[in-house]
């Protein structure tokens, strides 16, 4: 990319720190406290490394680091631009939160194989950072695959039949799509473009025929299965068998966000928005994605399981982000990119609340939540905040991104999208508000009545979720660091 | 044309003749033991005669001695082989063919 | 099975016969096989290896390495037989 480049080892350090932490975790597997301390320390260190790069990025430079050449012309290389750092900041920050939460959650449920859990968690974060920092499609694919594989033990943590079949579906979808579509797409790209490096305006422009571009576009769209676009969304609800922190971080933040991040990367830096626009693929993309938005919300309405509902909500929300690539306008892109963060905070709050309910009340079904808000006020309040944020109600972070998206769709003259956004928001409220309502104002359900011990679980659980709920509120008022990064990125693309 | 050549022709033809009779015997004789008579004896002499014929044709030299050694070898080995087979036949209980009147 | 193997056999034979069509006649002294490498063996074996039997000189010297391989084959056959069959009696 045509920006000033600084060579720095920081991206590598950020990626490797979690991996080093694995070693420590395994070594100290007999002492749980030490083990968890290592996790927290690693998360803090990682975050600080990532955060330390923000300043450089504000000045409009990018950071690059080349690790090894795997193929003449293709390296495993890191390159931190605003978009990547944006995602990395989110992941590494939330890792801290979730680490605390995990401690509470795992201990209160007395889970088995915790060492393995923490170790793979760290690998997952590392590879998510790798995805964020990768400088070319190849590195991206590499970390993408590692992310897939290393989350498998997390998803199937319970090791029962349900986890097993879910694990199968999880891998089947993710590996299947990546091997069958993503990999050939990369290869075709390489074949036609001669390079895989991300470039601000895409590398495919003029390199391949129109039909080929469309074909490649479809391959990428379906190949990046982690984005859970509609025909390949089946894995996400099934992956909810995982322990809640896993669902929280990975399926609200790291994995699915990595998916949409990859999608956006590809559309922005491989195809280039102009190319998409010229080929009319952007129109196709937004309408295709709209289907997912609406259907996802619709399915979410039907769910009785909290986590399943959240999962469908995620499916729907992810497609908002992809809209960014389709809405050929400044605000549209900005909205999509910012939505990564806004949705991240909101959704992680919701998941942690679900976990908290599970720990405190052992309830998974929405229909049994009657009156629980009176017993667990903090949790349910946080849930309320999170729900509002995700639905895009001011004064919560989610509003911001939706607002930008709406602006973008107006700018791009795509009125139907506005309708879609509005409908979806209504549906969001439609599935979130009943939960909040019955938990605070509904009659006590059978299970709540029966169990007098229902109360807020340990502070390790409650504190993080309260924190993120507050963050999602605060971010509406102080979105500066994120918006700034997103603006840098979008401007560099639009302006260039 | 010296004397040895007709002599060697004679021997060769003799060898061939005995080979022929041995083969005919092999084909015509009624049972295994009788056939052994044909091959065991006929072939020995035929080989000897042929060897003599060839060595006569080649003239006397070390080669003749070598051929003579083959002859000596055949002279010992052929009856032994015949004996070995016939003995195996006997021990395996092959009944020698007898004339009809003797069978009773 | 028999039919299948018969078909394979006939196919192979057909290929072989097809190849035979372009072969030089049998016992032709002017085939390329006798023109390229072998004349040197015949003409120079005596002066180079002092051996009358050209086959031996080629076997032992010009292509001596093949013969080492051949001996190794035999050796490995012997070892193979021992490995496969040999068993010591239980005491």
């Amino acid at each position: 990319m045509d920006m000033e480049t600084i060579t720095s080892i920081k991206p590598l350090l950020a990626t490797v720190t979690p991996l080093l932490c694995i070693l420590l975790i395994i070594l100290s597997r007999r002492i749980p406290n030490l083990r968890e301390l290592w996790t927290i320390i690693a998360s803090l260190v990682t975050f600080s490394i990532v955060a330390s790069m923000v300043k450089t990025l504000y000045t409009g430079k990018v950071i690059a680091y080349k690790l090894v050449e795997v193929y003449p012309g293709i390296d495993v290389a890191f390159r931190v631009d605003a978009f990547g750092l944006f995602f990395a900041l989110l992941s590494s920050f939330l890792w801290i939160v979730v680490s605390f939460y995990s401690i509470g959650y795992m201990r209160s449920l007395n889970e088995h194989s915790q060492t393995r859990y923490y170790a793979f968690f760290a690998v997952a974060i590392s590879s998510a950072l790798g995805v964020a920092f990768s400088s070319n499609l190849f590195t991206l694919y590499l970390f993408y695959e590692i992310l897939t594989v290393c989350t498998y033990p997390l998803v199937t943590h319970n090791q029962d039949n349900e986890a097993r079949s879910s694990g199968r579906i999880y891998l089947g979808y993710l590996l299947g799509t990546s091997v069958a579509f993503f990999l050939p797409a990369i290869l075709f790209t390489y074949y036609f473009a001669g390079t895989l490096d991300f470039s601000l305006h895409g590398i495919l422009n003029g390199k391949a025929s129109n039909g080929m571009i469309t074909f490649l576009f479809l391959l990428f769209l379906f190949g990046i299965g982690k984005a859970a676009i509609m025909p390949f969304n089946g894995w996400l609800p099934r992956a909810m068998v995982a322990p809640t922190p896993v669902s929280a971080l990975l399926h609200a933040v790291a994995v699915v966000k990595a998916g949409v991040f990859c999608q956006l990367r590809v559309y922005f830096n491989i195809f280039g928005v102009e190319l998409l626009h010229n080929q009319n693929l952007d129109i196709f993309l937004i309408y295709f994605v709209s289907i997912t938005i609406l259907l996802g919300s619709l399915f979410a309405l039907k769910q009785d399981d909290i986590k399943a509902m959240l999962a469908y909500s995620t499916i729907s929300q992810l497609s908002y982000i992809i809209l960014a690539a389709g809405l050929y306008s400044y605000h549209g892109m900005l909205g999509g990119v910012v939505h990564i963060v806004m949705h991240g905070f909101g959704k992680i709050t919701l998941f942690m609340c679900a976990g908290s309910i599970l720990c405190g009340a052992h309830i998974k079904k929405i229909s049994r939540l009657g009156g629980i808000g009176r017993r667990m006020p903090i949790t349910m309040l946080a849930f309320f905040f999170g729900a509002l944020s995700v639905a895009g109600i001011p004064p919560f972070g989610g509003f911001m991104s939706k607002w930008f998206l709406a602006l973008g769709s107006i700018e791009a003259h795509q009125w139907p999208i506005l309708v879609v956004l509005l409908t979806s928001t209504l549906m969001n409220l439609g599935y979130f508000m009943p939960v909040v309502f019955i938990s605070f104002f509904g009659k006590d359900s059978e299970s709540v009545k029966r169990d007098p011990d229902i109360r807020e679980p340990s502070p390790f659980i409650v504190a993080p979720l309260a924190f993120t709920a507050l963050v999602s509120l605060a971010i509406f008022f102080y979105p500066y660091p994120f918006i700034r990064l997103a603006e840098i990125f979008v401007k560099s693309m639009m302006g260039g | 044309m010296n004397l040895t050549t007709p002599l060697s022709i004679l021997f060769m033809v003799g060898g061939l003749f005995f080979f022929t009779t041995a083969t005919i015997g092999l084909l015509r004789f009624p049972d295994f033991f009788a056939r052994l008579h044909a091959t065991g004896k006929g072939d020995t002499l035929a080989v000897l005669l042929s060897l003599i014929g060839i060595s006569l044709y080649e003239g006397f030299s070390l080669t003749s001695l070598k051929i003579a050694f083959i002859a000596v070898f055949m002279f010992w080995a052929q009856p032994t082989a015949t004996h070995a087979i016939s003995r195996a036949g006997l021990r395996r209980g092959i009944k020698p063919w007898m004339k009809k009147e003797n069978k009773i | 099975m028999r039919i299948l193997s018969l078909i394979i056999v006939i196919l192979t034979a057909a290929v072989l016969i097809y190849g035979t069509l372009d072969m030089p006649d049998c016992a032709n002294p002017d085939t390329p096989a006798s023109q390229h490498v072998s004349p040197r063996y015949v003409t120079r074996a005596m002066e180079e290896t002092a051996t009358h039997n050209i086959v031996t000189s080629v076997l032992g010297d010009y292509r001596g390495y093949d013969t080492l391989g051949e001996t190794t084959v035999i050796f490995s056959a012997g070892m193979a037989c021992i490995l496969i069959l040999r068993k010591r009696r239980r005491q």
């Binding site: - | 060898g15 061939l16 080979f19 084909l27 091959t39 080989v47 060897l51 060839i54 080649e58 070995a84 | -």
Partner: protein, 88 residues
Amino acid sequence: MDGFFLSIGVGLCILVFLALYRVVFGPGIFNRVAAVSAIGNKTLIMLLIMGVIYKRIEMFIDISLVYALLNFICTLAISKYLEMEGDK
């Protein structure tokens, strides 16, 4: 003179052919063994005749000696086997 040896050789060939009848159809193993050793004797002479025709007989003597030798050993082996067969 070559012609003469050739014709002797052809005669032997015919005899071999006749003996092959016993080899192929000969009832039972014993007839076959006898016939094979008979063929061996004939080919022994044929080898020498070839030596004569090639005018290099000293090269062929070794072969025919080996030939006779191994024919003998083979026959012994077979007869030993036949003898032992029932004892198993």
